[in-house]
Subunit: 188 residues, 2 copies
DNA sequence: GACGAAACGGCGGGACCCGCCGTTTCTACC
DNA sequence: GGTAGAAACGGCGGGTCCCGCCGTTTCGTC
């Protein structure tokens, strides 16, 4: 009945995840796995057993945030002006990525992942949730139909990554995001 | 006459730089400094003596490209339509960053650098060279006057970093760049 | 209560970055 | 052209990290 997992395993999983959240929040996506193991009071092998890759750990840490963003996307779908709704949501994605260290890294596509199937659960979830939001905006002519959710996520992640080490990265990221939304040099 | 540097030091500097170019081209910005030392036939301490930080090495490796882009910026300044000239140059920046591994990393601002003065020689050079190009475009109303060269560089670097691991990162980076130029959702 | 399997964690290996320090090598001066 | 001093070198040890192995412990079931 333990959902095909032993009780101590589940306990350790929770402990590690809790510690990892703190460590990633403190040290970003490059947080030390051994440090996490040490603080959690487990062997480093146990950490890797539960989270085979750093990405897996980051995705687990980011999971709540991703779900919150997914919920928000569904909330905003069909509510108010389609352009405003989309931009509101994208703005929240920026804010989340800026405030939650490691989230942007969790959303980056990693082509090195030899697993071609479910290579990135986080962005996959967001893509699914935000699809309708984007489609509605495209139907209303607010964005080009060729633009995908993955494009928007990648662009935001890039902005966040590039501004991460700036003194006031939050305002810089927001600034660049607005610039990209309005267009660097849109044809009139 | 040895420019206040011993002959063997200059020789080693050149050897290390040449090897570093190959290694960075092959393995990206995370190339192993020890591997570079090994191939160059010097001790790893010598590498660090000439290039105290990884960033210093990346900047040195990127130097020719940066200068080429600077020259190109000056060439394009005042030539043809100001908007076209700026976009042409920015497009070349994208192309360079995509083709020359490590260049994007060399252009990223690193706030952790305790040296507040000349924290990033590469982007500083580009900013200076491209300033007039941007100003002319701004005067002609092609871009908002509040936009800086640093903004544009940071945005491009972000796009490149975020697409770096994609299968066809060159086309994806170009695609996102065009999207940002045109505007994600420009007000009509 | 005992047995089998799942989970654990310590250990060794390899790679890396870093600082130290004795030694080599160049250069300027005699 | 030889030599003294300084500049440069590079090997060594330490610390951290990620990874795989494997004997041991602990849990769940019968």
């Amino acid at each position: 009945m333990p959902d095909h997992q032993r009780a101590d395993a589940r306990r350790n999983y929770a402990r590690i995840l809790a510690v990892a959240e703190d460590e990633v929040a403190a040290n970003g996506a490059a947080a030390s796995l051994e440090q996490i193991a040490r603080v959690a009071g487990v062997g480093s092998a146990t950490v890797r057993r539960h989270f085979p890759t750093r990405r897996a750990l980051l995705e687990a840490v980011s999971r709540q945030r991703i779900e919150a963003l997914s919920v928000r996307a569904r909330e905003l779908t069909g509510r108010g002006d389609s352009r405003d709704a989309l931009l509101e949501w994208l703005g929240e994605v920026v804010a989340y990525c800026v405030s939650a260290r490691g989230l942007a890294a969790a959303l980056t596509y990693d082509g090195a992942g030899s697993d071609p199937v479910h290579d990135n659960a986080c962005s996959a979830a967001l893509e699914e949730a935000a699809g309708p939001l984007l489609q509605r905006a495209a139907r209303d002519g607010a964005v080009a139909t060729s633009v995908t959710v993955a494009d928007l996520i990648t662009l935001i992640v890039g902005i966040v990554l590039a501004t991460e080490h700036h003194p006031d990265h939050a305002v810089r990221a927001d600034r660049l995001f607005r610039l990209a939304v309005a267009g660097l040099s849109p044809r009139r």
